[in-house]
């Protein structure tokens, strides 16, 4: 399928995708207009889809687009539409909040980086080629079934949480 892509071109595409992911992340954090933020998030998540593509799993890349861009970002945009109109003055960023959130994400970054640093990575003998849906399905239900079940637990908690929140807010408003 990639017959017409030379290795140099693939390498260039990798850096483009990394740039998209990083640029999107910057856009998602810094501009003061909230719609720009969410569009940045969309660019960033599409970049992650590009990374999956680079790693050879077309299926995962498409699922990333379908779920993160198609479902989650659209839901976020929908919530944002209910925010105050754009011609109003945006409230100032409070210094304390900025420092706090920067610190929190710094700690998270350090933790993740430390884990990556400490892990002894065994380079695979050859680049994985078989990332078809069948392989992923088998792996999810055999080797990674605990992770799979955990994810469904998280989703279940989210659903119950959503039901509770709407229920409470409805009772409070009536």
């Amino acid at each position: 399928m990639n017959s017409f892509l030379t290795s140099g071109l693939i390498h260039a595409a990798f850096w483009v995708v990394v740039g998209l992911t990083f640029g999107g992340a910057v856009l998602a954090v810094f501009p003061r207009k909230i719609v720009y933020n969410v569009l940045g998030l969309i660019v960033c998540l599409s970049g992650v889809a590009g990374l999956f593509l680079y790693l050879g799993s077309f299926f995962l890349a498409l699922m990333q687009l379908l779920i993160y861009v198609g479902a989650i970002c659209v839901a976020i945009v929908f919530a944002i539409m209910l925010s105050p109109p754009l011609h109003l003055e945006v409230p100032k960023r409070r210094m304390g909040k900025v420092v706090l959130s920067a610190g929190a994400s710094g700690v998270f970054f350090v933790a993740i980086a430390a884990v990556i640093w400490k892990t002894v990575w065994h380079p695979a003998a050859e680049r994985g080629a078989d990332w078809s849906i069948v392989t992923i399905g088998h792996l999810l239900l055999t080797r990674y079934d605990l992770v799979f079940e955990l994810i469904s637990l998280v989703l279940l908690v989210a659903i119950i949480g959503a039901i509770l929140t709407t229920g409470f807010s409805r009772r409070l408003s009536s």
Binding site: F4, K33, V35, G70, V77, M81
Partner: protein, 329 residues
């Protein structure tokens, strides 16, 4: 080495030619569909529709298109300029991608990917985002309301759409278009999966924002919905995207439920596959237009209730039954 080089050149050439053909086809298709829509509307309402330019008004939309290109592009003073300009481009870009995988004939697929069906649905969500961006950036209450309705509608109808498609995928065990069509060599899936086919077609009508589900641009209440502030070719791009989207959903319906390039019950009658495919696709497009001029527009709450309370449970049930039948029969 030499062989690899020529092969690379050939692939690039194929890609570029494919892209040009798709671009031209999408324009011609939109021109034809707009004309057809006006003709169908006319005849349903006992009038002729466009008659003046060309035989039976066939050149009317070309003239209209030239007019659109010549018109001034107006950007509202208080709009978000960057996003306002980007939105029409964003809406048109993703509608070209599905042509990569649509099976026009046994040999006429640009790339027969093994996740072809997913590709179409992954990129279809981008046009919703573009509508949102356009509606929000216009800084106009009608545009914003139209955009919000469009999102709510798309979120609601995407779920039964995907579930109904899934039941076909379960039967064939593949997302690959060529295999999905080959499985219907004898019997079309519209006979084996009638519920899924009907749900798919209803949801496709809603996903393309067509009447009776055209509340994002309901003329009688929202002026023109999300594209109220757009003029000239920017408006034209929204229109082009809508008609190309109609073609895509009909083409997907043809290849999933109506046998793709096969004739009914394995009789091809000596007609080439492409003709079968296009004939069925344009028939479905005609049905879409027929819907528009027959059913009155639904109210917003009716729309939401219909999806969440009828279509989603029904499509889940259909999927469950399909899974049980595939497993045990």
């Amino acid at each position: 080495m030499m062989e690899a080089a020529t092969n690379t050149g050939g692939d690039w050439l194929r890609l570029i030619v494919g892209l040009i053909v798709v671009l031209i086809f999408s324009q011609l298709n939109a021109l034809f569909l707009v004309w057809l829509e006006r003709k169908v509307a006319g005849h349903i309402q006992l009038r002729y529709g466009p008659m003046e330019v060309g035989p039976h008004g066939l050149l009317q939309t070309i003239v209209d298109g030239i007019k659109l290109v010549g018109k001034e592009l107006i950007t509202p003073f208080k709009a978000d300029k960057k996003l306002f300009v980007i939105a029409p481009v964003l809406v048109f870009m993703p509608v070209l991608i599905p042509f990569l995988v649509l099976p026009f004939g046994p040999e006429l697929i640009i790339r027969d990917m093994n996740v072809g069906l997913l590709l179409i649905f992954a990129f279809s969500t981008f046009s919703v985002l573009a509508i949102l961006v356009g509606g929000w950036a216009s800084n106009n209450k009608y545009a914003l309301l139209g955009a919000m309705r469009s999102v709510a509608q798309n979120v609601a109808y995407e779920i039964p759409l995907l579930l109904s498609v899934m039941s076909v995928v379960l039967m064939v065990h593949s997302f690959k278009f060529s295999e999905l069509v080959m499985a219907q060599h004898r019997v079309w899936f519209v006979f084996l999966q009638p519920v899924a086919a009907i749900i798919y077609f209803i949801c496709a009508t809603a996903e393309t924002n067509r009447a009776p589900f055209d509340i994002p641009e309901a003329e009688s209440e929202l002026v023109a919905g999300f594209h109220t502030e757009y003029s000239g070719m920017r408006f034209g791009l929204f229109f082009l995207a809508e008609y190309t989207n109609m073609f895509i959903v009909s083409a997907v319906a043809t290849s999933l439920f109506m046998g793709g390039w096969h004739g009914p019950f394995g009789w091809s009658l000596g007609i080439p596959g492409v003709i079968w495919f296009l004939a069925k696709t344009y028939f479905l497009l005609f049905v879409l237009m027929w819907f528009r001029w027959t059913f009155p527009r639904v109210r917003f709450d009716q729309l939401m209730n219909f999806s969440w309370k009828v279509l989603i449970p029904l499509s889940m049930l259909n999927l469950l039954v399909t899974a049980l039948v595939v497993k045990f029969v």
